[in-house]
Symmetry: C2
Subunit: 281 residues, 2 copies
Amino acid sequence: MTEWYRDGRACNTVSADDRGVHYGDGLFETVAIRDGAPRLWEYHVERLQTGAARLGLASPGETLLRSGLDTALAQTPTDTRRCVAKILLTAGPGPRGYRRTGEGSVTVLTGISDARRIPDARYRDGIDLRLCNTRLAIQPQLAGMKTLNRLEQVLARNEWSDGSVFEGITLDTDGRVICGTMSNVFLISGQQLLTPALTRCGVSGVMRRHLLTLLDNAGIDCQVRDVDVRELWAADGVFISNSQIGILPARRCERHTWQPQGVFHRLRTLLRNSGIDEGPA
Amino acid sequence: MTEWYRDGRACNTVSADDRGVHYGDGLFETVAIRDGAPRLWEYHVERLQTGAARLGLASPGETLLRSGLDTALAQTPTDTRRCVAKILLTAGPGPRGYRRTGEGSVTVLTGISDARRIPDARYRDGIDLRLCNTRLAIQPQLAGMKTLNRLEQVLARNEWSDGSVFEGITLDTDGRVICGTMSNVFLISGQQLLTPALTRCGVSGVMRRHLLTLLDNAGIDCQVRDVDVRELWAADGVFISNSQIGILPARRCERHTWQPQGVFHRLRTLLRNSGIDEGPA
């Protein structure tokens, strides 16, 4: 499982009065740890703080988050050369009722667990996707954030148990392509890149942000806009991204197939040059 | 706060690996306890079991839920002549990731807390409402259920701190009237009653269900359908319901005012005759 730490000590429980348990009143980050250090740390901190501000939660400072992480990494029996740190921020314990009372008493937990190993073949040959039946509700007030309200992702991910399907693509209730259950999605058409806007729903991934920055710096255009599902089927190539896996090409979804495209390989090189080294060399 | 019980013993924590904490992967019920016994118990059990089935969670039997409740009531220092029991059902602890693994290992917690005292004047003169800015996302897959994904209600309830406003009315993202943050809403126009359909979002309250049954038995027509916000403003009377408070008339929302109507008083009598006795005699 996961080893959990709070206020510098091992702590594998949460108060039964915690608003995280009752309402999902909080946020989380899943940080890749490589050689003992967090990857894309600034992006994780910024997303967590921006999310906390949007939810009206007290925003923990970077110093506090980092010391929580470093203490956890120092104490965990897990090999920190390659592992996952999950930071959980909740509105903390409170009396019954939706109204928040105890100002500023947020709960911050840091959990360390083993990194999942993705076989090299998946990086090389691509992954199989599924189009999920579960749709994402349109809720601009929560869009982009990694809140603790994740039932849609749970329902979408539990639609399949076939191990050969790596990820499920979710549409919003109006039929637009939004993201995977645990990843963001990019489309390639010729030399043109495209990724769905996340203003109505979906999670704005830190790896997606990093990729958009890399592409921008390299002068490769990537549109961020609404994407119709027919564009997904018509794309030359498709790939997914998340903080742990980097990028993975998709080879199939339902009856549609794609091939890794030139621009994908170029992006993988850019990613590797930026210090994000996942998959075979 | 709340005293929590699990498996027959006091237990004020939840595992930090619990899927309730991470994803809001679960449901809850808030049961009114009067004279040591749960009110509308069958409705609570049925909603919890139906919700569990819809979410794909193992459904705890009525016997298990009832023994959990009775053990909690026997042990709590709270006066059980009048209190609140909150039953929390989660998908239980699991490894990182949206996919559920440990089949059937649900967590069931029962919490006992003091009942909130509503001043008699609110039952007599009515309450003030607010129209919330927070909208409810349209998500038929979760509609009607009391899941642990309650951020919309948290955001809506935290829009105001003015103690004179008792409840906030929430619309869906298309502008239909749905419910209050913690209650259902009914409109009266002449002798006609109306309450919003909850097929797209909102929580299907047990008191709402009880009221609909009482009205049906008494031959009083109550429509259950989509409600436009203009119908709310045009109504002769408005009232809210929930499992704890029974029914409370509304006297004001924003610039609009209402008067308790004849049919409201008739319903209050029906409610009292059904054994639900809240507010002044």
